[in-house]
Every structure is written in C-alpha cells, then in structure tokens.
C-alpha cells in the first residue's frame, strides 16, 4: 500500500496557545484512519491544515508525495474535505451544488453528471435534486455535502464528524459508502465522537489531546498501550485521555 498522507511535526498556535503541537502520522491508501480526541484537542485544526484551509506554523504535509505546503493546488486535487458543519448554498439546488463542486475540481461535465446522478440516487436525494438546499433537513444537507465530497473521486477523503445529524438508515448508508471507497483504494481520515463507529470501521486509530498525538495503531495496539486488553475502544480512549499528556504519550 502506498502512503497517501504523511504528516510530520505539524504545529499551529492561536495567539499563545498551541492548538496542534508537533503531530506526526501516516495514512496509507486503502486505509481508514480514525482521529479521535476530546473537544478542542486539535483534530479539526489538523484536518484544516491538511486541506489547505489553514497555514501551518511548522511541519510537513505530503499528500501522495506532493508537498501540500509547497504546492497546495496539486495536493487539493487529490483531497476532499467534509467539515462538521455542511458547507452548502441554501439558494442552489442539490443538482446545481454538485455540478458546481465538480466544476471546482475540473471534473468533465458529462462525467460529473453521471457521478452526480449515481451519488444522488445512492444517497436517496435523487427526487430532491431540483429542490433548493434551504429546504433540506440537516441529514439531507449532510448527504448532499458528502456527495459533493465524493464527486471528484478523491484519493484522500477527510471527514470531520460525517455522521452528525444522520438517522440510523442514512448513517448506515454513509458508513457503507466510506467503506466502499476505502476498499477501492482511497485513504480516509475520519473524526468522530461516536467511538463504536471508529472501533468497527477504522483500520488504525490516532488519539489526540492538547494538540499532541498520544498514541496510534490498531485497536489491539492501543489496548496494549493503555494496559486494557480486551476492553472496548471507549474504555481505552477514556483511560488514555484521563492520563496527563506526557505520560500517555510515552
């Protein structure tokens, strides 16, 4: 498996506060990496830096060997970013939104239409394709944004709380869609507060606190690190974040 994302020594401060403090990790193609942490741990800031929405103070970001800080445009071609709050245009229809997003990534118009139709049908929004997004429920908006993130077939998909606001059926659908992308070779980074989702879906998990990566690995490796063999990810997670940062990171 090739390395899809390589982050090393990534740092970002706001005022005097270190929001991200020298984070280093890698994600391979065909791998689902769950980035977990308490609120304010630095997960979203890390993802925003990788997506090119924030300038990092220090560190290196390589997306499929493209230096994202040197050549952000080339890196962005490979990435899709799904924020926790759906970025939609209330006054556009779902179809227009997808057409627009496809245009931003330079997807061929005919191809974009095919993909838009496929995604809208898959996500159950086909009948609403001519409705303006302002009429959508939170779950429908989330699905429309997900369709937008997938329309240019990204090689690296970054999903910040993708299941927020979705009902059980939609949540299952999205999880299947993510898994399918991973099986097709895409790399996925996912943040979530629903630890069961990370436990069931993720190939590897990184736990972040106070801007530092405490630990990462497969679930059994995390259990070993926390000295909590056989326990759930929730127990492991709570046990790790309860420790002072320096001790947990060892």
């Amino acid at each position: 498996m090739s390395t899809a994302l390589k982050v090393s020594g990534l740092a970002k401060s706001y005022g005097g506060k270190r929001a991200v403090d020298g984070i280093t990790f890698e994600v391979k193609s065909g791998e689902l990496y769950a980035l977990l942490g308490p609120n304010g741990a630095g997960k979203t800031t890390t993802l925003r830096m990788i997506a090119g929405l924030l300038n990092a103070d220090a560190g290196q970001i390589d997306v499929f060997d493209v230096d994202a800080r040197e050549d952000p445009i080339a890196a962005k071609r490979l990435i899709a970013w799904l924020p926790d709050e759906p970025l939609l245009y209330d006054k556009l229809t779902a179809w227009e939104y997808l057409e627009f997003v496809a245009g931003l990534w330079g997807v061929d118009i005919a191809e974009a239409r095919n993909r838009a139709e496929h995604l809208l049908k898959l996500l159950g929004l086909w009948d609403n394709r001519n409705d303006r997004c302002e009429t959508f429920s939170r779950g429908m908006k989330q699905k429309a944004v997900l369709a937008g993130a997938l329309i240019h077939e990204p090689k690296l998909l970054m999903l910040d709380e993708p299941l927020t606001g979705l009902d059980a059926a939609a949540s299952r659908l999205v999880k299947d869609l993510i898994r399918e992308r991973v099986e097709r070779g895409a790399a996925v980074i996912l943040t979530t507060h629903i630890l069961e989702v990370a436990e069931r879906m993720a190939d590897r998990i990184g736990i972040i606190k106070d801007g530092k990566l405490l630990t990462e690995g497969r679930l059994d490796e995390l259990q070993a690190h926390a000295g909590a063999q056989g326990q759930s990810l929730e127990d492991v997670f709570l046990s790790l974040i309860a420790q002072p940062t320096a001790i947990a990171a060892q």
Binding site: G15, N55, W81, V101, G103, L104
Partner: protein, 523 residues
C-alpha cells in the same frame, strides 16, 4: 410515474475559470432575495421600464437645456463640477461602506470560502472574483437610478454623458479596492477582534459621512434657498472655483473629459488589483486569526453561574446580554442614530438663530424610537437563536414575549431619556408630547414585531439590515408615521388635529394584530 427532469443552467465558461466563478457569484447574488428569479426579472424590468419612460419625458424637455460637457470654463463650471464631486463622493462612500462590510464578512464568516479554498483553484482567482462580485453588487442601485437619465442626457444633451456610466462602474471597483486595502491594514494594525468592530464603525461613518457633511452645510448655512439670481452669481464669483483644479478630476471624468476618464480607468486598473492582491495574500492567515479569536477561552463571568430571578428576568437578562455582547449588531442598530444627527446640527448653529423650534424634535425622536424598537424586537423575537429551547421550557409564549418586549423597549427609552430631559428644560409641554410619542411608537413597533414575527437569524440583520417581513416593515412604517404625525400636531399646539392620525394609527395597529401562537406544551 414520469421522471422529473433535471433543471440546471450552465454557468458559462470553463469550470474553474474567472467567468465561470463569476457566473456562480452572480447566480447567488440574484437568488439572495425572497422572491423567485422569474418574479425578480419581471419586477426589475418593470421598474426600469417605468423609470426609463418617466425619465425620457423629463429629459426630452430639460435635456436640450442642460449645458453639454465639458465643463472647463469659468467659476460657474467649477461650481457644477463641485456639485458633481459631492454626488460622486456620496456614491463612492456608500459603495466603500458596503465593500468594507463585504470583505470583513469574507474573513470572519467565510461561509463557502472554505469550500472554494479547499479546491485546486488559486486563492487569488477566487478572491478576485469574490471582490469583483462585491463591486458589482454595489452598482445596481446607482446604475438603475442614474443609467436611464444619463442615456437620455446623452441623447438630448451630449454623448459625453455616456462616460458617466463608465465612471459609475469603475467607481465601484475603486471603492472595493480601497475597502480591501483598508480592511487588510486594519487587520495588521489592530488585530482581528478590533478590526471587526472598527470596520463596522468605519463602514457606517464612511456611508454616512458625505450625507452628514452635506446636511451640516444645508442646515447651518444662512439664507439657503432665499438668494436672488444676482446673489447666486456673486457667490459663484466669490467662491471662484477653477474647473481645472486637480481635485475636480473625478467630476471631469464623470462629465466626459477624455483625459480624466482615461486616467480614472487606469487608476481603477491599478487600485482594484492591488487591493485584491494585498487582501488575498493575507487572507488565509487573517481568516485563521479570526478563527482563533472565537477559540480563545473566556474567563467565566461569575454572574452567569448564578441563577437569579424568575423566567421573566432570566429572559430579559439573556436578551440584554446578547445585545450588549454583539458589537456588530449594536453598530448596525446605532447606524440609524447617525442619520438623525442632522437634527443635532440645528443646535450647533453658531448664531443660535434656530430655524426649528423644540417642537420639531418631538416627531424626530418619536420616529427614531420606533425605528430602534422595531430593530431590537426583531433581533430578540424573530432572531431567537434557540427557539426550541425556549419552546421546551416551562414558560408560556405570552410570558416569553412580554420579557422580550421589555428587552426591546427598555434600551430605547433609556436612550431617549436624555434628549427628553433636555427638551423638558426648554418646553415641558413639548417634552410631554414627545414622551408620549416615544413610548407609544416604541411600544407599537415592538408589538407589531411580536405579532408579525418571522424566523430569521442575527446574521441576516448584520448582513442585510433585514428586520422582518414586508408586512411587518410596512406596518411599522405606516403606524410609526401616524403616531409621529400625532406627536407633531400635539407638540406644535394642535391637539384636535392630532386625533386624525392617531385614529388612523390605532386602526392600522388593530388590523396588524395577530394572536400570539402557543407552544405545543405551554404551561
């Protein structure tokens, strides 16, 4: 079942190109209103057609009488160009005011810029298009108002008037370029937090400055409107403005002086791209700083933790806190106060020879109280951030509305107390009428806001100064005018005459009444 057809219009241009991005911006701009695109086209075409027709008949007669440009000969032409300069300065200041708000909003709210900037399109191109959209957004009002008359003037007076249309377009771009430079400079100099507040104030002042200056001279100048043609001619000679003086060059460009308009176009071609370049270079870091602003931990206010009083005081406290903690909202509401400043200029007349008696303050303060209360009630009732929370609380909607009504009216009455006390010193009778007018108008505006509530957000108010539905706005305006007329008649000593507008206002208020809806599980 017959499958629905997919509806979509092409944006034009290659995806990702400037033309394509501009098509996207304009589509969003067009759909910003509440009416459908088709109705919008009909309304715009109808209004423009009517205005074109009306202005045709006006300029068909007066066009041949208007001296054709260029105006480059003698003090009379100097005066004409000065008058045009004042108009140009007014347009420019209003355009710049809007552009400052637009660029500050781009940094702080970002909205779709996160999506756009996460794409492989260069930030420069995205922000250039967004900036151009801000500039284009500033044009329709002036292009619509001045376009038809200028076309007829070109037909009936001189084709050189056509350069005024080019001038208005380029003025919007220059104003936007300057606005981008100002916002970037403010960010560098005073940081994100203060920039947001200062830019709001700067924008308000820039928008009102020329209007207020003009009003100051208008109100304080002696013998205005009473001069004979000879006196006017003598005044022109006294001022002796050289039409070729350097600061009249924008007015010369407006009136078709070829060299000046060329120079003006070159200035636009330099200032707008410079503004976009400087703004886009710092955008990502500025946006990051603005983001960090919201993440700073605040020291907990000990008062917040203490739960005091009943439901009523809790809601009032919450509303007043939200109002005082939102400087953007306050500056927008405060902007309304600026436009009443000309009344203050009367008091500043150096010779103390008041054209207006104290009674003139009664309708002005009454109108202002209604406008302020109308804005505040919309913010507290319609722009409630958590309506579900209030609805799920064990409190009736009537009680909640009463608290919100108080929150909207109390600050207005506190603000009005000082001028009313000043009036009472000079004329207690006028002060009594004014007090009545202020209280009744504030209360009626607030009640209309409660009865005709529409769900919205505080962002809407800050962005578009939106404060309610059309029905609510019209209702507030007409009832406010009725109460203001009542107050004016009473203050000027015609109490019986005051009855007529009072009866009309009460009747309109009654027509606007709508019973308070109840929460699903109100106690």
């Amino acid at each position: 079942m017959k499958a629905k057809k997919t509806k979509s219009r092409s944006l034009g241009g290659k995806p990702g190109s400037i033309r394509w991005l501009m098509g996207h911006e304009l589509r969003l701009f067009w759909r910003r209103g509440r009416i459908s695109a088709r109705s919008g086209v009909i309304v715009v075409v109808l209004l423009l057609g009517l205005w074109s027709l009306a202005s045709y008949f006006i300029f068909m007669r007066i066009g041949p009488l208007i001296p054709p440009p260029p105006f480059d000969d003698g003090p009379a032409h100097g005066l004409v160009l000065t008058a045009i300069s004042i108009m140009v300065a007014f347009m420019g200041s209003v355009m710049m005011s809007g552009a400052i708000l637009g660029s500050v909003e781009a940094i702080y709210t970002r909205n779709d810029l996160d999506l756009l900037l996460s794409t492989p399109i260069s930030a420069w191109r995205i922000l250039a298009v967004r900036s151009a959209a801000i500039a284009i957004g500033a044009m329709p009002l002036y292009a619509g108002l001045l376009g038809p008359p200028l076309l007829w003037m070109a037909l009936f007076s001189s084709p050189l008037w056509l350069s005024a249309i080019v001038f208005i377009v380029t003025l919007a771009f220059i104003a936007t370029g300057l606005a981008l430079l100002i916002v970037t400079a403010l960010f560098r100099l005073i940081g994100p937090k203060r920039t947001r507040i200062l830019a709001q104030i700067f924008s308000a002042v820039a928008g009102a400055a020329v209007f207020l200056t003009f009003q100051y001279f208008n109100v304080t100048s002696r013998n205005a409107g009473n001069m004979t043609p000879e006196e006017t001619a003598a005044l022109i000679q006294t001022w002796n403005i050289d039409p070729n003086i350097w600061w009249l060059f924008p007015a010369r460009a407006f009136t078709g002086d070829i060299l000046s308009i060329l120079f003006w176009i070159v200035a636009t071609a330099l200032i707008f791209p410079l503004g976009v370049f400087v703004f886009s270079r710092g955008f990502v870091s500025d946006a990051a700083a603005a983001l960090a602003m919201g993440q700073k931990k605040r020291v907990a206010d000990a008062r917040v933790a203490a739960v005091r009083g009943g439901v009523m005081s809790s809601i009032i406290r919450k509303e007043l806190r939200l109002l005082t903690r939102d400087p953007l909202l306050l500056s927008q509401i405060g902007l309304q106060l600026l436009y009443f400043l000309p009344i203050g200029f009367v008091l500043l007349r150096p010779d103390g020879d008041f054209l207006l008696t104290p009674a003139a303050f009664a309708p002005a303060l009454t109108l202002l109280a209604g406008a302020l209360a109308g804005s505040l009630i919309w913010v507290t009732v319609s722009a409630e951030d958590a309506p579900d929370l209030i609805a799920s609380a064990p409190v009736s909607m009537r009680a909640s509305d009463r608290a919100k009504l108080f929150s909207a009216i109390a600050p207005v009455l506190a603000l009005m107390a000082l001028p009313i006390i000043a009036l009472a010193v000079r004329d207690p009778r006028v002060a009594a009428w004014t007090t009545g007018g202020v209280v009744v108008n504030a209360l009626s505006a607030a009640l209309i806001g409660v009865w005709r509530r529409t769900q919205g957000s505080r962002k809407d108010f800050v962005r578009r100064r939106q404060s309610g539905s059309l029905m609510s706005s019209l209702g507030k305006a007409f009832v406010g005018l009725g109460i203001t007329a009542t107050t004016a008649a009473g203050a000027y000593g015609y109490p019986w005459l005051a009855l007529i507008p009072a009866i009309i206002a009460v009747a309109m208020l009654g027509a606007l009444y709508r019973p308070t809806p109840q929460f699903a599980a109100a106690s």
